[in-house]
């Protein structure tokens, strides 16, 4: 069967610069879920194991770790990792809710995405203030 030329057969500009597109909030939560997971694997996991080992090894190690965590740059890193953990957790709970068909419509999906994003940031800020 001969097909008539359709509009999509014509050469057209393909413009997919992700930074030039305003991403909807579920997309933001989704990419941050992925980025936070990568960060937790690459940095959080080895750092956590090292911290656990050092803190259990000796009273000096425990105290030294406490001193290490008072350095402003280290604190900044710990807050980032804490946020990564919490955001990943809340975005994951949102995934399970989606599996249960909760919040699948556009309004619901945007609402749960906003809740996950805000909860992660607020809880990180609360724990950060409490710790220091």
């Amino acid at each position: 069967m001969a097909s008539a030329p359709r509009p999509v057969d014509k050469p057209r500009p393909v413009y997919l610069n992700l930074f030039a597109i305003r991403q909807p909030i579920p997309a933001v939560v989704s990419i941050l879920h992925r980025a936070s997971g990568a960060l937790l694997f690459l940095v959080g996991l080895p750092l956590g194991l090292w911290a656990l080992q050092t803190s259990l090894a000796s009273p000096e190690g425990y105290a030294g770790l406490g001193a290490f965590f008072t350095h402003p740059l280290v604190r900044f890193g710990v807050v980032i990792l804490l946020w990564a953990y919490l955001h990943h957790l809340f975005a994951g709970v949102r995934h399970v809710l989606s599996d249960l068909h909760i919040g699948l419509d556009l309004v619901g999906a945007r609402r749960t995405a906003a809740i996950a994003l805000v909860l992660g940031i607020l809880l990180t800020a609360a724990i950060g203030v409490k710790l220091w």
């Binding site: 997971g37 996991l45 194991l49 080992q53 259990l56 599996d99």
Partner: protein, 120 residues
Amino acid sequence: MVGPRLTTNAHYGLRDWLSQRVTAVVITLYTLLCVAIAFVAAPNGGLGYDGWRALFASNAFRVVTFLFLVAVYYHAWVGVRNILMDYVKPTGIRFVLQTLVICALVAYTGWGVQILWGMR
């Protein structure tokens, strides 16, 4: 439609989807346990070194922590492999990276056992 099967792809099934959620539940429960311990210890000014040691001297807590770590490793494997499948297209490079991730996670497993059961 499922395309040609690559050795470095996932297993096209329910298993990864389900294991990612089961491990997530284990991780969440352990997190809540640690939050509860922190809340109980907080009025006494936290655990301190002695309390921290005593917590990990308990064999039950060691086993629970080890279960948490294994859940984290399996969860990380499924997630990191998804990332590699999305962004690393050449099969050879993807295979090497996936092998490195597995090596790291197996090494972390040994490290975790050493930390939990090797403490003096």
